[in-house]
Symmetry: D2
Subunit: 386 residues, 4 copies
C-alpha cells in the first residue's frame, strides 16, 4: 500500500488541520504511504467547495453517504461535529473503509462501543485523533516512563485551561449545546487529558468529579470559525447545556493518584494543556503553550545540580525531529496532526492497528461518563462498572 485514498467528512477547524497534514506528509515523511486527497464532504455546498479548492481536495460532496459508497476511497476521515461521528463511522465500516475519527469518538459510551464493535466486525483499521500524543515532547515523556527512567509513578496532574468563552456575551455556539457536543470542557478538553493519562500512566480504576456552568445563558450565535464566533442580532439568548468546567480526581491501576481539570474559564490561558508526572526516580512537566519543551527532573542527578531540565525536543534524539529543522527550530500545533497521520498511514501500510484507536476512544469515553455519573450521583464511580 503505497498510497491511501482519503474521503474526509468535515471541513472546519479539524478538517483544516487534517488536510494540512495530508499535504505535508509527502514532503516531510516521504517514506510514508502517500495520502491522496480524493473527496471532501460538508453540508454547506458553497463552503465545502471553497474548502476543497483551498485545502487541495480533488472533489467535494455534500452527502457523506455518497462519500462512504465510493470505491476509490480507502480511508474515511471523520471530523464533523461530534453528534455525527457514529452514523458515519458505522456506515463507513460497513463499506469496508478504514476509519480515522476525531475525538470524542461519540456522544456516549454505548455509541463508542458500538463504533468499536462495528470496526472490529468489519475488520477495518481505526484511529482516533488524540493528536497531543504526537508532540515530540510528549513522546519523550512516554519514552522516559517506558524506559523506567522516572521509576514508579506516584502522581499525574493535568489541567487543560482555556478562556475563550469567559466573556458572558460570547455566543451560544455548537460546542455549548449538549445535543451536538455531548459535553463542554469535559468532553472537549478533559478528553485530551484522560487520553494523555492513559497513554502515560495507564488505566484509572475509580474517579469522582465536579462541574459547573458559570454562565447559564448566552446570546444566540451568528457565525463561527475555529474557536471564534460573533454574536447574532436581536439579543435573543439560549441556555448553555454543557459544563464550563469539570474537575475530577482518579486512582490509577498502578497506584498513582490523578488530578484533572478542564475549564474554559481560566483567564489568561489560551490553550494551557498541561500535565506533570512524578515518579520515584524523576518527574516530567509539559505545557502545550510551549509544546516543544519537556521539563525533566532526575532524582539521581548529582546533589548540587538537581533541578528540572528544560529539554527542547528538537534534537535528533527526539521523535519526529529529524523530519523537520535543525535543533532549536521549533514546530507548532499543526505538526501534532502530521505525526498522528504518519502513524495512521504507516499502520495501514504495515497492516496493524494504529495507536491510539477506537479502543482508546472507548476507554476515554468510559472515564468521561464515569466522571459524569460521579457528578450526578456524588460518589466515586469505577469506569469498569459502566
Amino acid at each position: 500500500m503505497n498510497e491511501v485514498r482519503i474521503g474526509m467528512v468535515g471541513y472546519k477547524f479539524m478538517g483544516k488541520a487534517h488536510s494540512h497534514a495530508y499535504r505535508d506528509i509527502p514532503m516531510f515523511f516521504p517514506d510514508a504511504p502517500r495520502p491522496v486527497m480524493k473527496l471532501i464532504c460538508g453540508r454547506n455546498e458553497e463552503g465545502v467547495r471553497r474548502a476543497a479548492r483551498q485545502f487541495g481536495w480533488e472533489e467535494a460532496v455534500t452527502d457523506w453517504r455518497e462519500l462512504v459508497r465510493r470505491d476509490d476511497i480507502d480511508l474515511v476521515d471523520i471530523n464533523a461535529p461530534s453528534d455525527a461521528h457514529k452514523e458515519i463511522a458505522l456506515a463507513a465500516a460497513e463499506a469496508g473503509k478504514h476509519l480515522f475519527c476525531e475525538k470524542p469518538l461519540a456522544l456516549t459510551l454505548a455509541d463508542a462501543r458500538q463504533m468499536l464493535a462495528a470496526a472490529e466486525a468489519a475488520g477495518v483499521k481505526h484511529m482516533i485523533g488524540f493528536n497531543y500524543r504526537f508532540a515530540p515532547a510528549v513522546r519523550l515523556a512516554k519514552k522516559l516512563i517506558d524506559e523506567g527512567r522516572l521509576g514508579r509513578i506516584y502522581h499525574f496532574r493535568a489541567a487543560f485551561l482555556q478562556d475563550w468563552i469567559i466573556d458572558p456575551d460570547f455566543p451560544l455556539v455548537w460546542r455549548l449545546d449538549k445535543n451536538v457536543a455531548g459535553s463542554g470542557a469535559h468532553g472537549d478538553l478533559g478528553a485530551h487529558l484522560i487520553d494523555m493519562a492513559r497513554y502515560l500512566v495507564g488505566e484509572m480504576t475509580e474517579v469522582i468529579g465536579m462541574s459547573e456552568t458559570f454562565v447559564k445563558e448566552r446570546p444566540l450565535p451568528g457565525s463561527m470559525t475555529g474557536l471564534s464566533a460573533t454574536g447574532g442580532t436581536g439579543g435573543a439568548k439560549g441556555p448553555v447545556t454543557v459544563d464550563d468546567a469539570t474537575l475530577f480526581m482518579a486512582r490509577f491501576a498502578c497506584g498513582a493518584l490523578g488530578s484533572f481539570e478542564a475549564t474554559r474559564f481560566a483567564g489568561g490561558h489560551r490553550c494551557t494543556n498541561s500535565f506533570e508526572v512524578n515518579g520515584s526516580l524523576g518527574s516530567v512537566k509539559f505545557d502545550f503553550e510551549r509544546m516543544n519543551e519537556l521539563h525533566v527532573y532526575f532524582a539521581g542527578d548529582d546533589a548540587d545540580v538537581q533541578g528540572f531540565r528544560r529539554v527542547l525536543a528538537t534534537d535528533p534524539a527526539h521523535a519526529y525531529a529529524d523530519a523537520w529543522w535543525p535543533p532549536g527550530h521549533t514546530i507548532g500545533y499543526e505538526h501534532t496532526f502530521i505525526h498522528e497521520t504518519v502513524e495512521l498511514l504507516e499502520a495501514l501500510q504495515e497492516n496493524r492497528q494504529p495507536v491510539p484507536n477506537f479502543h482508546d476512544g472507548v476507554q476515554c469515553q468510559a472515564v468521561l461518563e464515569a466522571v459524569e455519573r460521579s457528578i450526578e450521583q456524588k460518589r466515586w464511580v469505577r469506569p469498569d462498572d459502566l
Copy 2:
C-alpha cells in the same frame, strides 16, 4: 503597649523562624511594639540552652508550665510539635497570656474549637501561624481580589509539592507519626493551601478527597533538624501512619471550584507552594519557590498585549516592601514570619484580634477533617456539618 514580652515553647525549625522575626522587627519595623525575647522553653535542656544563646533569648526553661506561670510574659508563642499545642494553649489562655500558635492549631477539630473557646473566654488575643499570607506577592493577590480587579472568582487551584521523603529510606521522623503530627502532607502542607483559599476566595461548602501512603514503612530515625534527618542504626523499621499525599476538590460559597493537592512525593519540587485564581476580569498565579513574584493577568488589557505579567512584589506599591530594600532586591522565606509577627504585635498594640487567628485555625481544621471524613466515607462532606 510599646513592648511585648514573649515566652516561646519550641526551638526547632519554627522556633528559629519566630526568633529571627523577633530579632529583626526593631530594625526593619521600628514603629511596631518591641518584642522582648524573655523565655524559651524546650524539653531537652542542653538543646534549649544552646537555642537560647544562639537565638538571643534571655532565659531557657524545660517545662512549659513554668513559662505559662511567669508574670513577666505577655505572649506565649507555641511552636512545639502539634500534639502539644492544645494543652499549652489552654493553660496559657487561663493564665491570661496572649497566644501565637503555629499551624495546625490542633490535631482535631474538637481540640481546635476548645482552644478558640478558651482564648475567647479568657479575653486574650490569639494568632495562628499561616505565614504564607504574609508574602508581599500574596498580599498583592488579596488586594487585587478585594478591589474587584479579578471580578467574580471562578477557580482556585493549589498544589503544595515537596519531595523530601520520596526516598523510601528516609527515616520515620515525627512528622510521619499520626499521634504526634495528626496527619501528613494533608495537615502540614494542605493546611497552608486551605488557609490560602479561605484568605483569597472564602469559605468552602463541601469537599471530597483522596489520599495515599506510598511508602508504608520506613527506617526508625536517628536525629532530625528542619526537614532533614538521618536514619537510625540497626535497620529497624516502623509503620508510616500519615498520608504521603492528599488531594481534594471543593466548592466555595461564592460559587468557585477548588482543586487542592498536597504531597511529599513530587520529585523536583522542594517547596512548590503554588496557587492560581481565575476570575471574570483577571487571574493571578503564585509559586513560593519564586515568592517575590505574582503573575497577574487582566482580561481588559489591550487586545494585542494580553498576557500574564510577572510582577516582582518589591516596589513601594507592594505590602511591606518599604521596610526592606530597593525594588528588585528580593526577600526570602523568613520574611513571611517577620511580617506575620508585625501583624501580631500591631494587633496587640491596637487591642484588636490579629488575622489570621484561632478562628481561622478552626475553620482550616474543619476543612482538613471534612476532607479526612470524605476519604474514609468516600463521599462529599460539608465542613459546616462537622
Copy 3:
C-alpha cells in the same frame, strides 16, 4: 498577477523551508497570488531530482543558467550557498526575473551593492530572506515601537546563540569555510541580529567588534544536512577560516545603544535568537526558542502590577494569526518563511518592492563589513564610510 511561477536554486535546508512555504500558501493564504513550483535547480542531479519529487517541483535541472533563461519563470529564488548568490542574481535580473535571495545577500558589500544595482537597473522586484522579521511576536514588537508605545528607544541588545559546533570533532562543513560562507557566526547569525536591529530601531552610525575562532582546525567532513554533519574518514583535518563568535557594540542614529553577540559556542542554546528593546515607555523581549511569545513591559501600568507580560502572539490581534489556529495554538519556525513569502507574493501582485529587500541586504552587509573592519583595525568604524 494571480500566480507566480518560480524557479529555485538550492534544495537543502533553505530550499526545503522555501518549498514548504510555497506549498502552504494556497491553503492558508488563499487570497495571495498562487506560487507555481515550476523548476528546482541543484548541482547534484540525483539529489535535486529527489528534492523535486519530495518537495513538489514540476522539474529539476542541474544548471542554474538554464533556469534563468526559462520564459515560464517569473521569480528566481536563490538559496544556494552564499558564494553563488551574486552570479545567479545578476543573471536572473538581466533576464528580467524577480529575485528572492537568502541572506547573506553576498560575500562582500561590493557584491551586495552590485546585486542591488543590477536589480534596480533591470526594474525587477527583489527580496531578501530575513525570515525572523515575520514571526508574529516580532511583528508585534515592531508595531509597538512604530505606534510609539515604547517611547524613545534607549537600548537594543541581541544575542544569537547556538552550540552545534561546540564539539571540536564536529567536521569542517562549508559554513566553516570563508570562501564559501563569507564569514562564520557573524554572517550567519549576526546578520539576522543586524537586520532585526535595523527593522526595529533603525540604522547604526558606528560599530566596533571582536571575534574569535576557538577551534582552529577540524576533521574534514563527510556529508551534511541542515546543521548536522558527520565526520569524514581518515582523520584528516583542515583549518577553520571563519569566526566561531563575533560580538560588537553599535550606536544607532536615533541615539540608542546596541549590543550584539553571535556565537556557535554557547552550550545549551540550540537556537537562541534573542533581542530586547528598552524605551522610555516600555520594553520588549523575544527569544526565538519560544517564538510565539513576546514579553512586553509598560512603564505606565498601574504601580502595583508592573511587570513583563508574556504575550502569546496567537490572538486575532496579532499579525498572521488569523490564517492559522485558535489562540494559544502555536506555530513554528517554518511559518516565518510562509509569512515572508506572503509578503513577497503580495508585493509582486501590488507591483511594489517587498520588504525586506536588497537594500536591506546591502545595509546589513555594510554593518557586517564595518564590524569586520573594526576588528581588523581595532577601532570604531562607520558603516556609512564603507
Copy 4:
C-alpha cells in the same frame, strides 16, 4: 579572636544591609566570631542616632576621625558615599584597624591603589563589598567552573539592568553626581559585573566601551533613601554628570570573550544582575531577580534529556544553605551580606586575607578606568597598561 568590635561609617542603604548582617550572624552562624556593634558614624546627628537605635549600635558619632581613633574598635566598616572611602580607609589603616569597604573602593584607580598599599603597609586585613559573590547560586557557578565541570570557558556575558531613573523627572541624587559617585551605571552596576567576571573567569586583558547619558539634566533633589528619592521644590535643574549606561567588550586572559552592559534605563528591570558563562562542557546562567536559582547545562547529559536545569541553590549541597531553611525555602538580597560578613569574620579569626579584598577592588577599578579611557579615546585599552 572570638569577637570583632566594629565601627561603621555610613548608615543609609548599605549601612542598613551591613548592620543586619552583624545582627544575624550570631544566630545563623554561631561558630563565626561574634560581631560587636560598637559604634556607628554619620554626618547627620539626628539621623545617625536614630540609625544607631534602630540598627542596634551601642554608640553613634558624627566624626569618623573619632571612630578611627577608638581603641575598642577592631574593624572599620566603610559604607559612606564613595568619595569618602579613601580618606577614611587611609586613616583607619594607619590606626591599625582592619578594613571593610563598600564598592567601589575609590573614585580612581590611583586612589584605590593607595588604599591597598596603605592596608598592606599597615598589615591589616581588608575586604571589599562585592556581595553578589556570596549568593549560593553564584557560589555554585564558581564551584562548577573550578571543578572543571564547564570545561574551557568561551563566553562570559553579563548585564546589570535597572530602571529607577528612567523617568526624566527623577531628581538629581548623589549617585548622578560624578564628584561624589565617581561614575554612574558603570561604577555602580558595572563594577559588580566586572567583579563577577574576575571571580568566575579571571582577568581581562583588553576592553573597549561605550556610554551615554540619555537624560542630561534633572530636577534638583529633595530627600533620598535607598534608591528612591523625591524631587525638590522650585523646579530648578542641574546637569547629570555620570553615565546612564555603559557597555563594554573584553578579552579574558583565558581566551574567553566578554560582553558587559550596565544601565539604569532598562524599563521593567528593577534589578536584573545577570550573567551567563559558556564552556566547552557546560553553561551556567544567573539572574539576581531569581537569586536562589542557577541554570546549569551539561553537554554530557544523555542526548534525549539535554537542557538547562533550574537548580534551586537551597539544598544541603549548596554553600551556606545549611545555615538557613529546608530545601526550597528561599533567601533574599540581604543574605548576600550575611555570607559576605561571615567570610570577613572567619578570615579575621583565621588570620588570613578575606576574599574579595582591596586587591580585587583595585583590579576592578583598573577595568572600570580602562573602559572609561577606551570610551574617551575610542580604542581598545589594556587594564594592565594603566
